[in-house]
């Protein structure tokens, strides 16, 4: 049961694993936006007539905080679908 690990296969495996590890970065926005939403709910409870402004501010703040997760997502997509290192594989012996 011997199989050869070719250089191409190793690079592809590393690509997929790298994309998976990159998506771990989406933990941050999830936590942060949950905390910000809890503060927004507290603020609405304190002053219910400002609910519209608070909701709009919450949504805008969420969209800004989402950016770091989006960077990770784009990075993972770039690795998976454009193979950046496929031209540098040297088959030696």
């Amino acid at each position: 049961m011997d199989f050869q690990v070719t250089a191409q296969g190793a690079v592809l495996a590393a690509e997929v694993m790298g994309a998976g590890i990159a998506m771990l970065a989406n933990l941050g926005p999830g936590l942060g936006e949950g905390i910000s939403c809890s503060k927004a709910v507290e603020a609405v409870g304190r002053q219910p007539e400002a609910a519209g402004v608070i909701t709009r501010t919450l949504i805008i703040g969420d969209a800004i905080c989402e950016t770091s997760g989006i960077y990770a997502f784009i990075f993972a997509l770039l690795i998976m679908f454009t193979h950046p290192f496929s031209g540098q594989i040297n088959i030696t012996a």
Binding site: E66, T67, I70, I74, L77
Partner: protein, 301 residues
């Protein structure tokens, strides 16, 4: 004759879009039966408006309107030796179609206005204009009200383009080139506002705020602000498109109710929020580039 102008624009845009979108570019776009492919990141038919090709013996020639060929995986392959090309993709022509549709819609909304509004059409038009003028007045202040049409235009274009994925098209905003263009426009507007309010000296001084050693950070943030704007908008819309494509792909023949409910969040909510955040950030950046406080007028002394 003047009433036919919107129709002419729509016809022109649709004709140009069909020239590129339905043009055959090799074997791309055919679904293979032995294994369904998710054709969300699929090829866009590309026509090169002009290409500079270098021959084998070193001479250069210019080719106009050549279709690019796609190999069997859908990647674009060019002919050998292309030095410079200027491509026309379906995303660009789809954006023209969206411009034509939005333009025609607002042209029709803005006709036959009366001082005292009597119809629903004028109420809708006044609500839209009031919304954008309010956004610009809150974000930028009274003296920047001239930017309200531009802000409204970008908002509506972005929203219509992202919502066109509900109709089955691949939305033009799922292509980073389109949104990078809008981000570059933001960069240009910021620089113009800096030079207009402060002169070149004020623009230079604004890079040294608040302390001089922050110059590299300020220079970097000039680049990264439009870049992050671009990435935020593009990433959100692309993520929504991919997730909807995966859902349609998974529920192969049973995609009846679930995709419609899920696309309420992924497609519609994402599109509107991203359009709103993009234009809000344009107002924030452009009004933040006001350098008039850095250039003291001699008459104040």
């Amino acid at each position: 004759m003047k009433k036919l102008i919107p129709l002419l624009i729509v016809a022109l845009a649709l004709g140009l879009a069909s020239f590129t979108a339905f043009a055959d570019a090799g074997s791309a776009g055919e679904t293979k039966e032995e294994g369904r492919k998710i054709e969300i990141l699929g090829p866009r038919e590309v026509v090169s408006v002009f290409r500079v090709v270098e021959d084998a013996d070193g001479g250069r020639r210019v080719e106009f309107f050549k279709k690019s060929h796609c190999d069997e995986k859908g990647n674009l392959i060019d002919d050998e030796g292309v030095v410079f090309k200027f491509n026309l993709t379906t995303s660009v022509t789809a954006q023209w179609v969206m411009l034509a549709i939005a333009g025609t819609l607002f042209f029709i909304l803005g006709k036959d206005l009366k001082i005292v509004p009597t119809g629903k059409k004028q109420m809708l038009a006044e609500w839209i204009v009031g919304f954008f003028r309010g956004m610009v007045k809150d974000g930028m202040g009274e003296k920047y009200l001239g930017y309200a049409p531009y802000i409204g235009g970008v908002f509506c274009l972005s929203m219509f383009s992202s919502l066109s994925s509900l109709l089955g098209m691949r939305s033009p905003t799922a292509d980073i080139s389109i949104i990078a263009g809008w981000g570059a426009m933001t960069f240009i507007l910021v620089q113009i506002n800096k030079i207009k309010t402060g002169g070149v000296i004020g623009a230079g001084k604004s890079l040294l705020q608040p302390v001089a050693p922050l110059l590299p950070i300020n220079l970097l943030s000039e680049i990264t602000n439009p870049l992050s704007q671009t990435f935020r908008h593009f990433g959100n819309i692309l993520a929504g498109t991919i997730i909807m494509g995966v859902i349609y792909f998974a529920l192969h023949y049973f995609a009846v109710l679930v995709p419609a409910v899920l696309s309420l969040y992924f497609d519609i909510f994402g599109a509107v929020i991203q359009a709103y955040v993009f234009t809000t950030l344009i107002t924030v950046y452009v009004s933040g580039a006001d350098c008039s406080a850095l250039v003291k007028k001699k008459s104040e002394a």
